[in-house]
């Protein structure tokens, strides 16, 4: 029984961290630029296909990380220039536009790779013993990477000058421009960073899920709920949202049943949208 608890606890941690990794790019773009990128899941999907292509070509799996970042970053750059910027970063207009973008990206990938499932082999096989229990090694590595990345991001956002500039731009765009911050360039870079990270997240999860053109749709559902519950534009909100949604789902799934876990998550999200639409830790 004890061993079961340890593994289930690892499962909860795994689910929360993976969700945080998936939410990250979305949270950056939504929280800082007020653009709800509905096509976020499609960027994750393109990252997963990048991993598939790299593996098919016989290259080391790590090559997929820069490959996916470059592919998704470039697409992000084009999207920012010809879709988001012309719509003046308007929340509603960009929401509709990125919805359409999602359709387009899915169809393009379907055109190139077909509708069928692709499988990406696990780059690090086997299991590791942790707390006396064996747990799949790749998942442990993913969890470690997620912790490092999230911590680094947190520190960077608080300490680095760019972080300060972004906070300035978000807080008061006109004043930020007046003191010499090039907000247009900063916004573009933020958007591109969000999409590039989505691609990297795709590489991370590709060996764990079916890789197909529509994978982004299901992957992204929980990310939206995490944003709704956690609140947008703060790092605390990101952690809180991923922790609550991922944790609730994982714990209830193990303790009660997966169907009731899903139901509970939907109810919680509805409750938040209705009573506290800005989430737990919104940007002040």
């Amino acid at each position: 029984m004890e061993s079961l608890l340890i593994t289930q606890a690892l499962n909860v941690a795994y689910e929360v961290l993976i969700l945080a990794v998936l939410v990250l790019g979305l949270a950056v773009v939504m929280g800082l630029l007020n653009v709800l990128n509905i096509a976020h899941g499609e960027f994750v999907m393109m990252g997963a296909y990048a991993a598939y292509v790299v593996q098919k070509a016989g290259l080391p799996y790590l090559v997929a990380v820069p490959a996916a970042a470059v592919v998704c970053g470039l697409v992000g750059l084009v999207v920012e220039r010809f879709l988001i910027r012309p719509l003046r970063y308007d929340p509603f207009e960009t929401l509709l536009a990125t919805w359409g973008l999602g359709l387009l990206l899915r169809k393009l990938v379907e055109l190139g790779f077909g509708r069928g499932y692709r499988s990406v082999e696990i780059p690090i096989g086997g299991s590791l013993r942790i707390l006396g229990e064996s747990y799949p090694a790749y998942r442990l590595v993913l969890m470690a990477i997620a912790v490092v990345v999230l911590a680094a991001l947190f520190v960077w956002y608080v300490r680095a000058p760019t972080g300060a500039r972004i906070r300035a731009m978000v807080g008061n765009p006109a004043l930020a421009e007046a003191v010499g911050i090039r907000t247009r360039k900063l916004a573009r870079n933020t958007f591109v960073a969000g999409t590039a990270w989505a691609g990297v997240a795709g590489v991370m999860i590709a060996p764990l899920t079916p890789v197909e053109p529509f994978m982004g749709l299901t992957l992204i559902v929980n990310s939206f709920f995490a944003l709704v519950v956690g609140g947008m534009g703060t790092v605390t909100g990101l952690f809180a949202g991923a922790g609550i949604i991922g944790g609730l789902q994982s714990v209830l799934s193990a303790a009660v049943s997966p169907t009731s876990a899903y139901l509970a998550m939907l109810l919680l999200s509805i409750l938040f949208l209705w009573q506290r639409p800005r989430g737990l830790f919104p940007r002040p």
Partner: protein, 393 residues
């Protein structure tokens, strides 16, 4: 004066009515004329979660129609397919079915989609034209003028489970399924067969259908319970996801898995690393060594070359539907409900998976138990002429 106008108006209405009838009459009478093409509506998954089967479904249906046409068509008429998308919600597909009937004038319908869509379509067809439903499904449907060609749970399990246990290290079963009617019905039937074999079901997990599911918690439970067999009624992405997670947790050496809906496309997604000791029980696999199947796959490859969509039991059923209809109408000489039903009962027709016999509007057919070797299926046992337990009259 007023009265006179009234009569004129009535006359006018009457005249218009007669005129309209005269104009419409040919359309109403048209089905009776033998020379026209016979239009058959075919519902395939162009969109929605099953859309990955769409191209293969279309190819199988078109090849079925071509095969029938080459032998003189149905009732002496050339068959013409009218496709419609079955990937939308049931209400939408039902509307498409009505449109197929009213404006496309189809005289029968063939469909490969889920049961919710089938029930919606049945409600609008009301038995007016024959409706052939082709995929794997749970049974318990005797709607008038509907014929089912797909595998039923009893066919997939009754004879297969004893054979499967020869590979297992015990008789304990763990069920994992999607939370909907097909999975639950299949598992209810499985419980009976397992009890008859002296086995036990240790746990059942059901996952919401179409939700972003993760399977770590079930796999962890399986790891601690250590059943001999995991019986799966997961479909599509969930099937891929579960089996990959299962293999990652290093369980595939000691525990065997039987999936009730694992075909060629899903196995590609599961991949060679995760398919050890995974079995599938279905009425058709694209690699089965039957001359009928070699001819079927060979012809499709000839037509589509490298681009031939991967056939599987879900798509191949559409080809069967045309062969079935040709066989029945050769005997019934009509598509009318009564003669069609009379001719259908007991009829045997040859398909790529071997002969099928219609009994109580379902088919007695061959069932294959296959083991996954990498991303290919190897048939380990063939059960010939497996009947259903359905009793539609």
């Amino acid at each position: 004066m007023l009265i006179s106008i009234k009569t004129t108006r009535r006359d006018l209405l009457r005249a218009t009515g007669v005129g309209a009838l005269a104009i419409c009459a040919p359309a109403i009478l048209r089905p009776a004329k033998a020379a026209d093409a016979l239009k058959i509506g075919v519902l395939v998954a162009d969109s929605g979660p099953a859309a990955l089967f769409g191209p293969a479904q279309r190819a199988a249906a078109e090849f079925g129609a071509a095969t029938v046409n080459a032998k003189g068509g149905i009732l002496g008429r050339q068959v013409e397919i009218v496709f419609a998308d079955a990937g939308a919600p049931p209400a939408e597909v039902s509307k498409s079915a009505v449109k197929l009937m009213l404006s496309d004038k189809i005289e029968m319908l063939i469909g490969s989609h889920d049961s919710a869509v089938r029930q919606g379509v049945e409600n609008v067809l009301k038995g007016k034209i024959p409706y052939v439903y082709t995929p794997v499904f749970e049974g318990d449907d005797c709607s008038p003028n509907v014929y089912m060609l797909g595998e039923l749970p009893e066919q997939q399990l009754q004879k297969t489970l004893p054979k499967l246990l020869e590979f297992a290290k015990g008789k304990t079963f763990y069920f994992v399924g999607d939370d909907y009617v097909w999975a639950r019905t299949t598992n209810e039937k499985a419980k009976k067969y397992i009890a008859a074999l002296g086995g036990t079901v240790v746990a059942e997990d059901y996952y919401p259908f179409g939700a972003p599911n993760k399977f770590e918690s079930s796999v962890t439970k399986i790891k601690s319970v250590k059943p001999a067999v995991v019986l799966q009624t997961l479909v599509g992405g969930d099937n891929v996801n579960f089996n990959r997670t299962f293999a990652d947790f290093n369980l595939s050496d000691d525990i065997i898995r039987l999936s009730c809906l694992l075909e060629e496309n899903t196995l590609m997604g599961i991949g060679k690393d995760a398919s050890k000791n995974l079995y599938s029980s279905l009425g058709y696999f694209a690699d089965i060594e039957l001359p009928q199947n070699k001819a079927f796959i060979g012809e499709l490859n000839k037509k589509y070359g490298d681009k031939a969509p991967q056939q599987c039991t879900i798509s191949k059923g559409l080809y069967d539907a045309f062969v079935f209809t040709a066989a029945v109408t050769a005997k019934s000489k009509s598509l009318d409900a009564k003669p069609f039903a009379a001719a259908a009962e007991g009829i045997t027709f040859d398909t790529p998976s071997g002969p099928m016999t219609m009994k109580n509007r379902h088919t007695t057919k061959n069932i294959f138990l296959s083991r996954c070797d990498g991303t290919k299926f190897t048939v380990v046992d063939t059960f010939t002429g497996v009947p259903t337990q359905q009793s539609c009259s």
